[in-house]
């Protein structure tokens, strides 16, 4: 009998359904599909839902709703289908985000390549050709955790923290990429720089990405990067998009 999925309470704030003990593609798809099903069920006591890598969270005021009631309903829903076999959400977007690799704007490319055991040119060639999926949005507004890269990139976080990487920084660790929303400290290595804004509070659609979206990070030159900075006013940093079906 598997330990997963697990249903647990989160303080008085809600209930968490976790599909696995570590990151995996099927568990990530299960979490996304289960969240969509909970949203579809439209239970009045659920005020909002979210996913992290392998789990779905339901915000429920447990001071006014019994956790047992919510748990029973969730158990019913869990039994209704094989969530690990679920398809990805509908209405996804493929983004191509121009990225300047290395230089003083992204100073840890060489270090990341060395840890991964490849030379820097090979690192750029591999990462710029990789297509990754938004596994979850979190930590900062609109900030994507994207994966999974090939096993070459199963590199650990660095020991110390980088004091600050800028907004738009592309960082790498544990087969995943992140584009930073705001300047922030990080233990991940800064390998590329984009002008792609994942959160634009004044825009009609403040959050650029959604879980399930896919991205590539094609390499551009310093001159091309400067040109994008000079002319782009959308905050999308020269990114192009197409609808995935």
């Amino acid at each position: 009998m598997s330990d997963w999925p697990k249903i647990r309470t989160v303080g008085l704030s809600g209930v968490l359904v976790t599909f696995a003990g570590e990151m995996s593609e099927p568990a990530n798809r299960a979490a996304l599909a289960f969240r969509a099903a909970v949203d579809g069920a439209d239970w009045p006591e659920v005020s909002e839902t979210s996913t992290s890598l392998v789990s779905t969270f339901l915000e429920v005021d447990l001071a006014s709703t019994s956790p047992q009631d919510v748990t029973e309903r969730l158990e019913e829903l869990l039994k209704s289908r094989d969530w690990f076999a679920a398809a990805l959400p509908a209405g996804r977007t493929l983004w191509q985000v121009p990225t300047l690799y290395g230089t003083e704007l992204a100073p840890q490319l060489e270090e990341a390549a060395e840890v991964a055991g490849v030379d820097p040119d090979q690192a750029i060639a591999e990462i710029s050709a990789s297509r990754v999926r938004v596994l979850t949005i979190g930590f900062a507004p609109g900030q994507p955790y994207m994966g999974e890269l090939s096993d070459t990139w199963n590199i650990p976080r660095q020991q110390g923290l980088t004091k600050s990487v800028p907004s738009g920084a592309l960082v790498i660790a544990i087969r995943q990429l992140i584009v930073f929303t705001n300047a922030a400290p990080t233990g991940w290595r800064h390998i590329g720089q984009t002008a792609f804004r994942t959160f634009r509070p004044d825009a009609e659609m403040p959050f650029t990405l959604a879980p399930g979206d896919e991205l590539t990070f094609p390499a551009i030159s310093r001159a091309e990067y400067e040109a994008i900075l000079a002319k782009d006013t959308s905050g999308l940093g020269g990114a192009t998009r197409e609808v995935l079906t």
Binding site: R8, T9, V10, G11, L12, S13, G14, L16, T18, A20, G21, E22, M23, R35, S47, E48, T49, S50, T51, S52, L53, V54, S55, F57, E59, L62, A63, S64, P67, T136, I137, G138, F139, A140, P141, G142, Q143, Y145, T181, N182, F199, P201, D202, P206, F207, P211
Partner: protein
């Protein structure tokens, strides 16, 4: 004409706050809003208006302010020395601020966050449903000297009203419930955690409050391999150095550090208001007791408007206090105090 409150001199950490913007956790944005939610309800009760209005949160110290028309103000949260044109004001009360008069608010004496409320609330544009600055999330900024904040239309007139003195500034026992990762700590660690007297560290902001203590740090066997999970305000996260952080309303939405438990929402204002060095201890309560405590807290917030009394009278000298109609019925005692206005 719209009234404006101008900040003639801003303290280092003033920001506009309300009950935050819910509904964006999936997009990586936590609710944010006032660090001490109780103060929002006290200010609303003193001014006879909804608790959804935006207020100025003052972390550590205030500043000076002037209004271009007569407005009403109320002062709540951490007590700070306040004056209008040099005349001392009672904290925890409502006052009239005449046009052109200079309101000065000093440093916090007994807590961390003071609040300046205005009659009608601040009428800045809503951003994604809230007027609050989410500093960590990149929405809004701290307030600066020279900022002129529009004040909304004020529907009431009463001033010189007060509330019983709040008691949430001295730390003490903070109650928590087990949460999703509590079981990954062994019984000995949990026991030591609840037996430890912590001190509120100077490292504290709207995202979280670090707790300092003597002795070894706290850890789980699985400390470094826990998959990132949802984070909610109140979670006590054990960071890499073994120190607990109580996460506040501006915390991140997900995190990989294990959480030993979750502070009851009703006790979170006491964590926010504890001054640097103040002693705090943590006690686990069962879900049933947690629900009772939180329900009682919400009922107390609802009853605040009925506890407002005129400033000049000593409530102890009034025999049948409850028979007095103290304020007009802007707030229904039956209304849900957490319901957002649209």
């Amino acid at each position: 004409m719209t009234a404006h409150l101008t900040i003639t001199q801003a303290g280092p950490a003033l920001s506009l706050q309300d009950q935050g913007r819910a509904g964006y956790r999936a997009q990586g944005l936590t609710v944010g809003g006032a660090a001490d939610r109780t103060a929002l309800f006290e200010g609303a009760a003193l001014l006879g208006q909804p608790a959804t209005h935006a207020v100025i949160e003052m972390a550590g110290s205030g500043g000076s302010f002037t209004s271009d028309t007569d407005i009403r103000i109320a002062l709540t949260g951490a007590e700070m020395a306040a004056k209008i044109d040099g005349e001392p004001l009672v904290w925890g009360a409502s006052h009239r601020l005449p046009a052109g008069a200079k309101l000065t608010i000093g440093g916090a004496r007994n807590g961390s966050y003071g609040y300046l409320h205005v009659g009608g609330g601040f009428a800045t544009p809503l951003v994604m449903g809230s007027r609050g600055s989410h500093l960590a999330g990149g929405i809004g900024t701290v307030l600066h000297s020279g900022d002129a904040l529009p004040v909304g239309p004020d529907a009431a007139q009463d001033v010189a009203m007060t509330l019983p003195k709040p008691d949430r500034f001295g730390g003490g026992k903070i109650r928590l419930v087990e949460s999703m990762q509590t079981a990954s700590f062994d019984a000995e660690t949990i026991e030591r955690f609840t037996a430890t007297s912590f001190r509120r560290d100077a490292r504290a902001n709207r995202m979280g409050v670090r707790m300092d203590h003597d002795g070894a740090g706290f850890a789980t066997g699985a400390q470094l391999s826990i998959v990132s999970e949802v984070v909610v305000p109140g979670d006590i996260q054990i960071s890499g150095d073994g120190a607990p952080y109580v996460l506040m309303y501006e915390c991140q939405t997900t995190g990989g550090y294990p959480r030993i438990g979750s502070v009851l929402p009703c006790d979170l204002p006491r964590v926010a208001q504890a001054q640097t060095g103040v002693a705090l201890t943590f006690e686990f309560v069962g879900m049933e007791e947690a629900v009772n405590l939180q329900t009682r807290y919400l009922a107390a917030l609802k009853s605040l408007p009925s506890q407002v009394t005129p400033l000049v009278r000593d409530p102890a000298s009034i025999r049948d206090l409850l028979s007095y109609q103290m304020i007009s019925g802007v707030i229904s005692a039956a209304a849900d105090p957490f319901e957002q206005e649209s």
